[in-house]
């Protein structure tokens, strides 16, 4: 067992460890998965917000700014389009590198190469559906590479079933009504998402409304729903209608 993943004594003493519920300033694990619908910009928006939150403390000067790799496979581009520079967060615009991979295999290759690169701050992947190439082995491979080189991977799965994966944190995101802006209450406000953390190593599952504030990522408890009180949904063991069984692996 890898002892480095266990909490240390100093960490146990802090508030976050005593209260293991996820918080926006919790450390970003090196491999997270975000399940999102393809017809919304939710997945990547939240991924970039997570990345921004994680990078906030790390990079002090512009010299230390490292690039961000955004990998998309062809189907993800077809469903959700390409990144648009003018709409990206201010501090990521000039350092985005976009990879348009034709197949999921190429996308996986690009993500792994990106994780190996010490000059990248974060790798954001966007893969549509449940391609055969992205099985548990591939997922484990990405996790190991990310943990070896310390580059976080945020893998956005568009229109995908939550199949087996070794991601350390798995989110299911949909959009949520935004808070009305101050000066024009009829206009859409800053992005807000309904986020469900359904599998995480260090935190119990839970649901939040995430708001992408200018300076930080804010989280508030989601209004009580039926699923909150039910047993936590371990997505990788539940066999959905389209998911492959363990025997198929």
């Amino acid at each position: 067992m890898d002892t480095s993943t266990l909490p240390k004594a100093a960490e146990l003493a802090t508030r976050a460890a005593r209260n293991p519920r996820w918080q926006p300033d919790a450390a970003l694990p090196l491999h997270s998965e975000i399940f999102a619908p393809a017809t919304q910009g939710v997945g990547v928006g939240a991924a970039l917000a997570f990345a921004r939150q994680a990078l906030k403390g790390g990079e002090v000067s512009a010299l230390e700014e490292r690039s961000v790799l955004w990998v998309q496979d062809a189907r993800a581009i077809k469903l959700g389009g390409r990144p648009y520079r003018a709409g990206l967060p201010e501090n990521l615009r000039h350092r985005l590198i976009h990879v348009a991979a034709k197949t999921p295999e190429d996308a996986l290759f690009a993500m792994e190469e990106g994780l190996r690169c010490r000059d990248l701050a974060v790798v954001v992947g966007e893969v549509a559906g449940n391609p055969r190439a992205l099985d548990f082995t591939a997922s484990r491979r990405l996790t190991l590479t990310a943990e070896k080189h310390g580059v976080p991977l945020l893998l956005v799965r568009l229109e995908a079933e939550a199949d087996l994966s070794s991601a350390r944190m798995r989110w299911r995101l949909t959009s949520a009504p935004s808070a009305p802006p101050r000066w024009n209450v009829a206009a859409p406000g800053r992005p807000a998402w309904h986020a469900e953390l359904f599998r995480a190593r260090a935190h119990p599952p839970g649901e939040w409304i995430l708001r992408d504030e200018p300076e930080r990522l804010a989280a508030e408890r989601a209004p009580e729903t039926a699923s909150e009180t039910a047993t936590p949904d371990h997505g990788d063991l539940v066999r959905g209608p389209g998911a492959r069984s363990l025997a198929a692996l």
Binding site: A49, G81, P83, D119, S175, A176, P177, A192
Partner: protein, 528 residues
């Protein structure tokens, strides 16, 4: 400078016999012969044989009738050529580069070199002295062109003379006018043609070229006539006009210089003779390391390796290896040699080992631990981009850059990831823009209260969105300097539906703009 070895074959034979000119076996008539289809033919004859009537090119049977006592030895043209090659390398002592002039000459470039030897005359004296010391009868000449030097070396004066110098100040044509046309390095059949035409000296040929015949009358057609006669002869050796021009320096004459190639060699002399296999392996491993370094410096890899082991009693054991591909991996060499050293009898001990790469091929330098370093410390951005570009293609790895345009899809360009962003006077500051832009705007059907009012409800990809909040319109006019006049303006709206889905949609035109009927609606971008 041209050096002509007049008697190269015989000089070599004398050297192998170890006799001086005209002494020992050389005193009797002797000829070097080759076997031809018509019987043995004389390639070279020594002075005694020549005095008796034998000549080069004569059949041996004819020579025997003239001089029954003539001795024969087989000639060795291949050996002569190899010797000439070594001679050409040796002749680089007089100039920066030299070229072989088969079958019996060497050309050396002595441009701006003569003063190092104390002048051209002394240079020629030095050549003469050193060649004589090697037992070669030579004649050298210095001239501004290789052709002129060759002509002077072969045809000016007698063999054994100091040689001839043609300085650039002299009138080259006048100096060479008296030489026979054979001085042009022409083929025998061309020489025959010229002889039949009555052109025996270079002066005759030059006169015709300039349109002067021997009586001094002008005849403009002279050069044309020769040109027509030899119009099909492209090779310089078959065309006297080309040779003449080369001789006088009017056209360049490329020469092929000889380049010395040395086989990489490393050796170890041992203080104590070794008798045990273990020590031998150590020394072989050291040699392999040295060899790898030597090969690496030359950018080569070995195909064939020879390991020589000198024993104390003077016996030499040689083991040879041949590799399938050029390599300079020392471990590989040691592993291969280890199998060949089992049957070595060290006797009283081995005192010297020598490893020689008899055959080597170019092998690019490579970073052997690139993968290992990347495993440990991660790759650099450039290396990462290289790998991605190599596998996915140049167009797949790109960076978005702003462009000066208000039209959303045109306001962004793509460029290779590591190129600097293009300099711009001013970046357009946009109102809120979506995170992602569809490659093509997709048509949606919209329900609205008034044609120019807010959209109420729209359906996209089979889903119905009830618009809950909307901001707009942001009107973007077409770029008239780029597009047709019938292009319609766009009214962009940011919309959010009841579930919080945020889109960027636009109405293409106005109902009243007179550029078509009712405007269509499109969805272009997705907000986060």
């Amino acid at each position: 400078m041209a050096i002509w070895c007049a008697d190269l074959a015989l000089d070599r034979w004398r050297h192998s016999e170890g006799c001086q000119r005209g002494e020992g076996p050389d005193a009797a008539p002797l000829a070097l012969i080759t076997e031809t289809a018509h019987g043995p033919r004389i390639d070279a004859a020594n002075p005694a044989a020549r005095a008796a009537g034998a000549a080069r090119g004569m059949m041996l049977a004819d020579a025997r009738t003239l001089c029954p006592a003539i001795e024969v030895r087989p000639s060795d043209p291949a050996g002569d050529l190899a010797f000439l090659e070594r001679l050409a390398l040796w002749a680089m002592r007089w100039g920066p580069w030299s070229a072989m002039d088969a079958p019996d000459g060497v050309l050396v470039d002595v441009t701006a070199v003569a003063h190092l030897f104390g002048g051209e005359r002394r240079l020629l004296a030095d050549v003469d002295a050193r060649c004589t010391a090697r037992g070669l009868a030579t004649r050298a000449a210095i001239a501004p062109t290789a052709g002129a030097a060759w002509a002077l070396a072969h045809f000016a004066g007698r063999v054994g003379e100091r040689g001839a110098i043609l300085s650039p100040d002299e009138d080259m044509q006048a100096r060479l006018a008296d030489l026979p046309v054979a001085a042009l390095r022409l083929d025998n059949d061309v020489l025959l043609v010229l002889k039949r035409l009555g052109l025996k000296r270079l002066g005759d040929l030059a006169g015709i070229e300039e349109g002067r015949d021997r009586t001094g009358h002008n005849d403009i057609r002279g050069r044309d006539a020769i040109q027509r006669r030899f119009r099909n002869r492209k090779s310089p050796a078959a065309n006297p006009l080309v040779r003449m021009d080369q001789l006088l320096g009017r056209v360049p004459e490329p020469l092929l210089p000889v380049v010395p190639v040395t086989a990489p060699m490393v050796q170890r002399r041992l203080m104590e003779p070794i008798r045990h296999r273990q020590l031998l392996d150590t020394v072989v491993s050291d040699l392999a390391q040295d060899m790898a370094r030597t090969l690496e410096a030359k950018g080569e890899g070995a195909r064939r390796l020879q390991l020589g082991l000198w024993r104390v009693d003077g016996q030499v054991l040689v083991r040879e290896l041949e590799m399938a591909a050029a390599t300079r991996d020392p471990d590989h060499m040691v592993r291969l040699f280890a199998e060949r050293l089992d049957d070595i009898d060290a006797g009283f001990g081995i005192e010297m080992l020598r490893l020689r790469a008899a055959w080597s091929q170019p092998l690019g330098l490579d970073q052997s631990d690139l993968e290992a370093a990347a495993e440990q410390h991660g790759t650099s951005l450039a290396a990462c981009m290289d790998r991605l570009t190599t596998r996915l293609g140049r167009g797949a790895v790109q960076r978005p850059v702003p462009r000066a345009s208000h039209i959303p899809e045109r306001a962004q360009g793509w460029q290779p990831p590591l190129e600097p962003e293009p300099a711009e006077q001013h970046q357009l500051a946009f109102h809120t823009r979506p995170l992602k832009l569809l490659d093509r705007p997709e048509r949606i059907s919209v329900l609205y209260a008034a044609p120019e009012g807010y959209p109420r409800r729209f359906s996209w990809r089979g889903e119905v969105c009830e618009v809950a909040r909307v901001e707009g319109p942001e009107r973007i006019a077409p770029e008239w300097w780029r597009e047709k006049g019938s292009t319609r303006l766009r009214d962009y709206y940011r919309v959010e539906d009841e579930q919080g889905r945020r889109y960027w949609i636009y109405r293409n035109g106005l109902a009243t703009d007179g550029r078509g009927g009712m405007p269509d609606w499109y969805l272009q971008g997705l907000f986060a």
